[in-house]
């Protein structure tokens, strides 16, 4: 093999090509001379020589192939040809790049969400072995685990290598310049062993080989160390004065470690409570090597079955629910991710349809050029390769823009959805996401570009002769393309419409309390002075004294229309429930949420009194305890009976376990756990009578001057105790937060469906406009034969609608069968919501009609004479 010649041919392309031309020209001249010697005149001799010569182009191709430089050489040449021919069709190039960029941008953005949330490994070593364990009973499929049950799991399980419990426990840290509220968690000693993440500085908790590890130790996050402790080097000498007493800081976790999500301080704890029904703990475990999650499920189900048989009604769990850590972290957003994926695939399909019809039109426009090249000897393979190069150039360009778009979209999504996207997920457009985007772009280009290319090059004979773009029966594919686009856009629009409608329905619903003009001051009292150290809950004298003073001060503040307090504000994210006995009974008959309020709370936040009375100043510490229930509790436990005057006793409630409360009033229901959550039965007690659960509470102020009142609220609390921690926010911000997830899905889906609709409109417009140009002659003939302009316009509109209406029908039918998959994500409407379907159909028709109008009126302006002379 003559390597030198090959290399030279490859790298010294100019010389090699010139040599080839020389050799060729020499041959041509020799042949011409020869023919002339044979007696032919010069002109004829040249012609003969050329005929002998064969196809110029094919000859060169083959000679080059023979030299083995074809591939690289062809690529650069194909690129040059593609760029040149695209320069001649800038409209087509721009539309293609734009369409690919939109399709690829949205798809890539959603892929990077899915990649970050569902595909990427969790940031813990060997995270697949991590499981979350819940108690399972007939009533609650997955509830927290009691301390005693946890100890049994830890002692007896053979399928779990290590287990640990943890529970979020926000604490107020004193002793720094300002009291600080931190997201803390109480965890068992082996917590970090389970996750296999160790502190980078200092140490973890001493587990003493079992549950009797150290106490009063805390590990802090890197962020807490840097931001709150200003990265002090003497951190190991510090005691954190928290709500659970003092803890020595023993270690600092690596940056970025955040489990449970958002926690900055981990305090070691044990639980000796023998109760099997105190569902206090989240439990995480690590499977033994080789054990599968099903093994653990079987083993623990068996364990709990045995416990149930032994303990009877002292234990409510009947088995366990086990989920992988990933599943437990992503459950909430998994469906949303699939819905987004479905939506974005529809957008991409609409984009593909547009590209396909643009390519089809372009192919027909190119036919003549291609036919000429075929006549000059270019093989079909060459032409196809060149067309493919053109498509790839467009798609790579579009893909690059698309990746840039995805990068922006991801930033927007992350900004929009901090409450929606799991905190562990790192959602970024990295190399792997970019590679995905480019693959999608190129696949899109080849799929949508090659079918038209094959079709066009399939039969080029006679095209050159007939002048190309003849009046043949083309465009047969255009109707179906329009119909497809319409169908896809319809499905997406209906999906988005359902989310929009359900969001509106949700906002229109009465939550049972006022949201506007309510300012909140969340107050957390330090444990020192306010928590009774012997029993662990609020001091019955200090706590009411503090809040009474705050209330008195605020009542006198100008701008405050009303003020009240509640220990757990609706939408605040926490709630405590308790079982209770009724009318002297000794068994728990019912359960309800337990809230502590003052008498003005109901009026301030707008919860209506339905029956009986609210608290009065007579309901003080010395008086007989009274309780107000909500309508849900009344309907559920006193069906058809007047609940007023009946007595209840919640035996778990603190220092008043044996005290009976008389029901004095019934108030309206509230949506406490979320605007889209069902109401639960509730009981309200008075803070002067039962202040134990008031060490943290919200001061609720109704005001029309929030900016003036907020500082007064902080000042009032600080005045009562300067160590009190105060955080000001509003009911509106809680409400926004409560619907943030739905707002996110709705916004993204609406954006996608708007995009699909826009693309479909562009597609319809493009196809019709091109069709009008193609049919100019036919239209000219019609007009010459007496068709009116209105008639021509009607003709084009009619053609469009013949494709749009079936597309719409197919889209509606498809939506009819697919919307059920999002039923669980909807609120207050059925997946087959007639208004949504009707409005969508109307929108589609209007948009399609709008997109057809311009091409139609252009057709009507065709000048019959010019049109007929055009060819």
């Amino acid at each position: 093999v003559n390597l030198r010649a090959r290399l030279r041919a490859l790298f010294d392309r100019k010389t090699a090509e010139a040599d080839l031309d020389d050799e060729l020209r020499f041959h041509l001249e020799m042949e011409t001379e020869h023919q002339m010697r044979m007696g032919l005149p010069e002109g004829e001799a040249k012609r003969r020589a050329r005929v002998e010569f064969g196809g110029v182009e094919r000859y060169r191709d083959e000679s080059r192939d023979a030299r083995g430089v074809g591939a690289v050489e062809d690529l650069t040449r194909d690129l040059r040809v593609a760029l040149r021919s695209l320069k001649r069709a800038p409209g087509f190039a721009l539309i293609s790049i734009f369409t690919v960029a939109l399709g690829v941008g949205t798809t890539t953005a959603v892929f990077s969400l899915i990649d970050g949330i569902l595909l990427r490994p969790l940031p813990y070593p060997n995270a697949d072995a991590h499981v979350r364990i819940y108690e399972r009973s007939a009533k609650y499929p997955a509830s927290s685990v009691s301390g005693a049950n946890f100890l049994d799991i830890e002692r007896q399980s053979k399928t779990l290598e290590t287990v640990a419990f943890f529970s979020d426990w926000p604490q107020t840290i004193l002793g720094l310049a300002e009291p600080v509220r931190v997201d803390a968690a109480v965890v068992s000693a082996r917590f970090f062993d389970v996750l296999r993440v160790r502190p980078v500085t200092g140490r973890g908790f001493l587990s003493d080989g079992g549950r009797n590890g150290e106490t009063h130790a805390a590990v802090i996050s890197d962020r807490f160390w840097r931001q709150t402790l200003s990265a002090r080097s003497d951190w190991s000498t510090m005691l954190l004065h928290g709500d659970r007493g003092d803890s020595r800081i023993v270690g600092i976790m690596p940056p970025g470690f955040s489990y449970p999500t958002g926690v900055d301080v981990w305090v070691v704890g044990t639980d000796d409570n023998p109760s099997r029904t105190a569902h206090n703990w989240s439990v995480i475990g690590r499977l033994e090597p080789g054990a599968r999650i099903d093994d653990a499920r079987t083993e623990l189900d068996h364990l709990f079955g045995a416990l149930k048989a032994q303990l009877g009604k002292d234990i409510d769990a009947e088995g366990v629910t086990i989920r992988t850590l990933r599943e437990s972290l992503t459950r909430r957003v998994r469906t949303l991710m699939f819905v987004l994926l479905g939506a974005v695939v529809l957008v991409l399909l609409v984009a593909c349809t547009n590209l396909a019809s643009a390519n089809l039109a372009r192919g027909e426009g190119q036919q003549r050029e291609l036919a000429v090249r075929t006549a000059l000897g270019a093989s079909r393979g060459r032409l196809i390769r060149q067309l493919a190069t053109e498509k790839i150039v467009l798609c790579v360009a579009g893909g690059l823009f698309g990746i840039a778009l995805a990068w922006m979209l991801v930033r927007v999504a992350v900004a929009l959805g901090p409450e929606t996207l799991p905190a562990f997920a790192t959602v970024t457009v990295d190399m792997r996401v970019m590679a995905f985007g480019l693959v999608i772009a190129i696949a899109t280009g080849l799929v949508t570009g090659m079918a038209p290319a094959l079709r066009v090059t399939n039969d080029l004979r006679g095209v050159a002769a007939s002048g190309g773009g003849g009046a043949g029966k083309r465009g047969g594919l255009r109707g179906p393309l329009i119909a497809t686009e319409i169908a896809l856009a319809t499905v997406l629009l209906i999906g988005a419409g359902l989310f929009l409608r359900s969001f509106e329905t949700l906002l229109a619903e009465d939550p049972g309390y006022r949201i506007q003009r309510i300012e909140l001051a969340d107050v957390a009292l330090p444990s020192a002075g306010y928590t009774n150290p012997k029993v662990g809950y609020g001091d019955t004298l200090a706590v009411p004294r503090f809040f009474t003073q705050v209330l008195r001060r605020l009542r006198a503040t100008p701008g405050v229309d009303a003020v009240g307090i509640v220990n757990q504000i609706p939408l605040g994210g926490s709630g405590v429930g308790t079982g209770f006995m009724i009318d002297g009974g000794t068994e728990i008959k019912a359960d309800a949420d337990y809230r502590v309020v003052d008498s003005a709370y109901f009026g301030t936040i707008g919860i209506p009194l339905l029956k009986g009375r609210i608290f009065t100043s007579a309901d003080n510490a010395g008086a007989a305890h009274v309780v107000i229930i909500n309508r849900e509790a009344a309907d559920k436990y006193w069906q058809g009976v007047d609940p007023l005057g009946h007595r209840i006793r919640p035996p778990g409630m603190d220092s008043h376990r044996d005290v009976w409360l008389a029901i004095v009033g019934v108030v309206g229901n509230v949506r406490h756990y979320g605007l889209d959550q069902p109401v639960s039965p509730e009981m309200y007690v008075h803070y002067l009578q039962r202040p134990e659960r008031m060490t943290s509470a919200s001061v609720v102020v109704r005001t029309s001057r929030p900016t003036a009142v907020a500082p007064a609220m902080r000042a009032a609390a600080k005045e009562a105790d300067r160590n009190a921690l105060v955080e000001i926010h509003s009911m509106q911000s809680l409400a926004d937060h409560s619907v943030a997830g739905r707002r996110f899905s709705m916004t993204v889906l609406s954006a996608f469906s708007a995009l699909a609709l826009f693309l479909a409109a562009v597609g319809i417009y493009g196809v019709l406009a091109y069709g009008v140009v193609q049919r100019q002659r036919e239209i000219g003939v019609r007009m010459a034969l007496g068709a009116t302009r209105g008639g021509v316009r009607g003709l084009i509109l009619g053609d469009a609608m013949r494709a749009v209406v079936p597309g719409l029908a197919v889209g509606l039918a498809a939506a009819f069968f697919t919307t059920r998959f999002v039923a669980a994500m909807l609120y207050g409407i059925a997946p087959i919501d007639p208004p949504t379907f009707i409005v969508t159909a109307a929108v589609i028709l209007v948009v399609a009609l709008g997109a057809s109008l311009w091409p139609a009126s252009r057709a009507a302006r065709v000048d019959p004479m010019i049109a007929m002379r055009a060819e």
């Binding site: 093999v1 003559n2 010649a5 090959r6 040599d19 020389d22 050799e23 060729l24 020499f26 041959h27 001249e29 020799m30 042949e31 020869h34 002998e52 010569f53 064969g54 196809g55 094919r58 000859y59 083959e62 000679s63 192939d65 023979a66 030299r67 083995g68």
Partner: protein
């Protein structure tokens, strides 16, 4: 069969070059006259074949000056080319003989 045709063109080029150094047109012309105008080797077939033979080291190409004083590329058969021709010729002859037998029998 295609291979045969391709091979026979290679063989004819090599055989022609046994007469001495020649440029491309000379090879084509030689084949044309020898075949009494029956075989017209088109350039589209000739030059790829010649270049292939050159790359395979069976012929050597060199730029030179033609009889009428023009720059032309001349081809000479190499030792490997001669050996190849001997083998090919023998193959060809036996092929022709076998086909002849079959055709006569048939």
């Amino acid at each position: 069969m295609l291979e045969r045709v391709q091979g026979s063109l290679d063989m004819m080029i090599l055989k022609t070059l046994m007469n001495g150094t020649m440029h491309g047109w000379g090879i084509a012309h030689h084949i044309r006259t020898r075949s009494k105008d029956a075989l017209h080797v088109r350039q589209g077939a000739l030059y790829p074949a010649v270049h292939r033979l050159e790359d395979a080291g069976l012929v050597r190409g060199e730029w030179g000056v033609s009889d009428n004083n023009r720059r032309a590329r001349f081809y000479t058969i190499s030792a490997a080319g001669k050996r190849h021709l001997t083998v090919e010729t023998a193959d060809w002859k036996s092929f022709v003989r076998v086909v002849g037998l079959v055709m006569e029998l048939a």
